[in-house]
């Protein structure tokens, strides 16, 4: 049963100055599962992702990912960091593609310099990924020449090039029209079908209902409700969940 959980977060706490951002959040994600972290802006969704990938130290609690455990206090030592980042990838809301590199080089940079893959291997894998995401034809473009949707798919390819078992995505639906959202959902489904675990943040309850296996509602730094997308979103019990559903992103 333990091996089914790829990600376990226990009592995660984090303050900035006097402000408590996270107040003891616990949650889990199983292998091959798509978990949606939902909640209004400022609820701490993005901060949870940043803690999982060790961009942000936290004050209390533990985070375990596939045998690597992060503790409260300073960021982990280099060896732990290296092990962690082989297990987790991240797609940022603003993508942050490397502005000075082409699409192809964005995708091959980490394999060639972090895992020392040969250039030919890295490029072959990059073409496969870009192709499966439908952006192979943009391989020689620079990031500033891409549309928002293209940039998102390149960012997914860049993270997937390191083949992490856990992929985090911050607000992937934020800037997509409904048709693109559907395509994104299909893409994510393909990723989970291959056994990968996805944790995404979103406000979009339609998207969560259609594609998430499980939903965690965050409100004021706490996980107030958790369950399958159907249970939580069709039958909201907590006021925060109801508030979220009262402001649909789209219908």
């Amino acid at each position: 049963m333990e091996s089914a959980d790829l990600l376990t977060i226990e009592s995660l706490r984090l303050s900035r100055g006097t402000r408590e951002i996270l107040r003891g959040i616990s949650m889990r994600a199983r292998r091959g599962e798509l978990v949606a972290l939902m909640g209004l802006s400022g609820g701490g969704k993005t901060t949870v992702l940043r803690c999982i990938i060790a961009l942000e130290p936290f004050d209390a609690g533990t985070i375990s990912i596939d045998g690597v455990t992060l503790h409260a206090g300073a960021l982990p030592a280099r060896s732990v960091m290296r092990a962690l980042r082989r297990r987790v990838g991240m797609v940022f809301q603003l993508h942050y593609l490397f502005e000075h590199l082409t699409v192809m080089h964005n995708v091959t940079l980490a394999p060639t310099h972090v895992t020392n893959a040969s250039r030919t291997d890295a490029e072959r894998r990059a073409v496969e990924l870009l192709d499966s995401l439908g952006v192979a034809h943009r391989r020689n473009a620079l990031p500033r020449e891409l549309s928002g949707g293209e940039a998102q798919r390149v960012a997914i390819a860049r993270a997937m090039a390191m083949d992490p078992p856990l992929l985090l995505m911050d607000e992937p639906t934020a800037s997509l029209d409904p048709a693109r959202r559907g395509e994104l959902g299909e893409t994510l489904r393909k990723l989970t079908a291959g056994g990968r675990t996805l944790v995404i943040t979103t406000h979009d309850d339609d998207f969560a209902r259609d594609f998430a296996d499980r939903v965690v509602i965050l409100a004021e730094g706490e996980a107030v409700e958790e369950g399958t997308a159907g249970e939580v979103l069709s039958n909201p019990r907590h006021p925060a969940t109801r508030a979220l559903l009262a402001h649909p992103v789209s219908s």
């Binding site: 290296r82 980042r85 000075h100 310099h113």
Partner: protein, 495 residues
């Protein structure tokens, strides 16, 4: 006579004759403007120097000769400070009436300006280190050696045609100190200067056999021949009545050559002009082109090497300031502030002359280090700003992919910062190209210095100045264009 003098005379006719004379004399003296004479007090004793007892007063044999001339013309002398190399240009512009302070009699000067009869004869003598006195006796012994002198002098002209390396100085102190330290093997300058320096620096020896003979003259603006003729008469009177001899004896520069020299000047009637080098201006200009091109090579090589050094050190300083601990950061900040807050000219002097007691840097190396270390401070600020301008998201994205901090800097932050830094760097390189002219103060002859030598010798800045400006543009324009192309390439779509 001007109107006021006439009116004075008119009044006088109706008064007593004795009162009349007194009034006229004092009125004339009061109305005549002072005779302004230009010289370089940096030349020092025995020519012109500030009186050690009262630095607001000048003394020296040239000061006394100038007073003698002024008195002979019924005027009061008034001194105007001017850099030695600019005396000719300034007198022609009308900054003062006459220029003197070891001004030499040369054909070029006679062709360009009104020049008086010579008033003193000197000799260019070789000074060597005492231990070399038997080794370097004549110019022939110095083949392939380094010989120092002042630019724009007869000594410089006579060295130029010799198979040796001429090191030019702007003052007459450093040639001798550099001789003592071994940076040059001999100094060729006036016997007066040599005798004076030998009193201050030990271990030097003056070869008794003069290399050439020269004469000091007073230089006036070309159109001022009438005044020149008056001064000729005053000087001749001074030779006849012993005034000049008395002045020269007082300053210890009266020697066995002077009586015969005075005799020649007084009997020849006209000023002695040597006709050996009568070349047309075009020939002179053409003759300088190779030297200017060589100097351009020095300028571009020095600028490129200094810039390369500045970039490397600038990157290290910027990285240290962005990534280093408090201790390292404060050291680097101090370096940047000290270098930016003091003149590069001072830094060059300190490197070349100041450090010479501990480490004897060759001039070119000192110039390279001076410019490179100075510009490193400016480059480091550009790089630091550029590094800090790279968005944090770019760095975090790189970290999540597993790059180490060094890799983040090398693969993501550095390359992006470099693109931001390129335009200001190009700007700095063009500035450095021009600042490289400052290294002439430590004897490196680059483009501007060579132009100055050229201009001094032909007595005009017009042609040399235009050629120099053209060469600087030829050097800097391609650079600006290259930088523009690089920027465009990085911004242009590649798909």
């Amino acid at each position: 006579m001007n109107d006021e003098q006439k009116s004075v005379t008119f009044i006088v006719h109706r008064s007593s004759f004795i009162v009349l004379l007194a009034i006229t004399a004092s009125a004339v003296r009061a109305e005549m403007p002072p005779l302004r004479w230009g010289g370089d007090a940096e030349g020092g004793a025995p020519f012109v120097e500030a009186d050690p007892r009262d630095p607001s007063k000048l003394r020296g044999f040239d000061v006394e000769v100038a007073e003698k001339i002024a008195r002979g013309l019924g005027r009061q002398p008034e001194f105007v400070q001017v850099a030695f190399n600019e005396i000719d240009q300034s007198v022609e512009r009308g900054d003062f009436d006459m220029g003197m302070s070891g001004v030499e009699d040369t054909p070029a000067r006679r062709a360009q300006h009104a020049v008086t009869i010579p008033y003193y004869e000197f000799h260019e003598v070789l000074t060597v280190r005492a231990e070399d006195r038997h080794r370097y006796r004549t110019m022939a012994d110095l083949r392939g050696r380094r010989v120092g002198t002042l630019i724009g002098t007869i000594a410089y002209d006579s060295l130029k045609s010799q198979p040796l390396t001429v090191i030019t100085y702007e003052d007459d102190v450093h040639p001798y100190s550099d001789l003592r330290q071994g940076r040059v093997d001999a100094v060729l300058l006036d016997n007066i200067i040599a005798a004076r320096r030998l009193r201050a620096i030990s271990g030097l020896y003056v070869q008794p056999q003069p290399v050439t003979t020269g004469r000091y003259v007073v230089v006036l603006a070309r159109k001022n021949t009438a005044r020149r003729d008056q001064i000729d008469n005053v000087l001749k009177a001074g030779m006849r009545d012993g005034t000049l001899e008395r002045i020269y004896r007082k300053w210890g520069i009266w020697d066995q050559y002077q009586p015969a020299f005075f005799q020649r000047v007084l009997t020849s009637g006209q000023s002695e002009t040597r006709n050996e080098e009568r070349r047309t201006k075009n020939d002179v200009v053409l003759a300088y082109i190779p030297a200017l091109l060589r100097a351009s090579v020095i300028t571009i090589v020095l600028s490129c090497a200094s810039m390369a050094l500045a970039i490397v050190i600038g990157i290290l300083i910027a990285s240290g300031r962005v990534y280093g601990n408090v201790f390292l950061r404060s050291i680097l900040t101090t370096y940047v502030e000290v270098i930016r807050g003091t003149p590069v000219l001072l830094q060059l002097f300190v490197l070349y002359y100041g450090l010479s007691e501990f480490i004897l840097l060759p001039a070119f190396l000192a110039a390279l280090l001076g410019l490179g270390l100075n510009y490193a401070a400016y480059e480091s600020e550009i790089y630091r700003g550029a590094l800090e301008a790279v968005p944090r998201g770019q760095l975090e994205a790189a970290r999540t992919l597993g790059f180490t901090e060094t890799q983040v800097l090398r693969l993501v932050r550095g390359p992006q910062a470099f693109r931001l830094a390129l335009a200001p760097m190009t700007n700095d390189f063009v500035a450095l190209l021009k600042d490289s002219s400052l290294v002439s103060v430590i004897t490196v002859v680059e483009l501007t210095k060579q132009t100055q030598i050229f201009a001094t010798n032909i007595g005009s800045w017009v042609v040399p100045g235009a050629m120099c400006a053209m060469l600087y543009l030829i050097l800097s324009l391609p650079l600006s264009r290259l930088a523009g192309k690089l920027e465009a390439r990085w911004k242009a779509p590649t798909s």
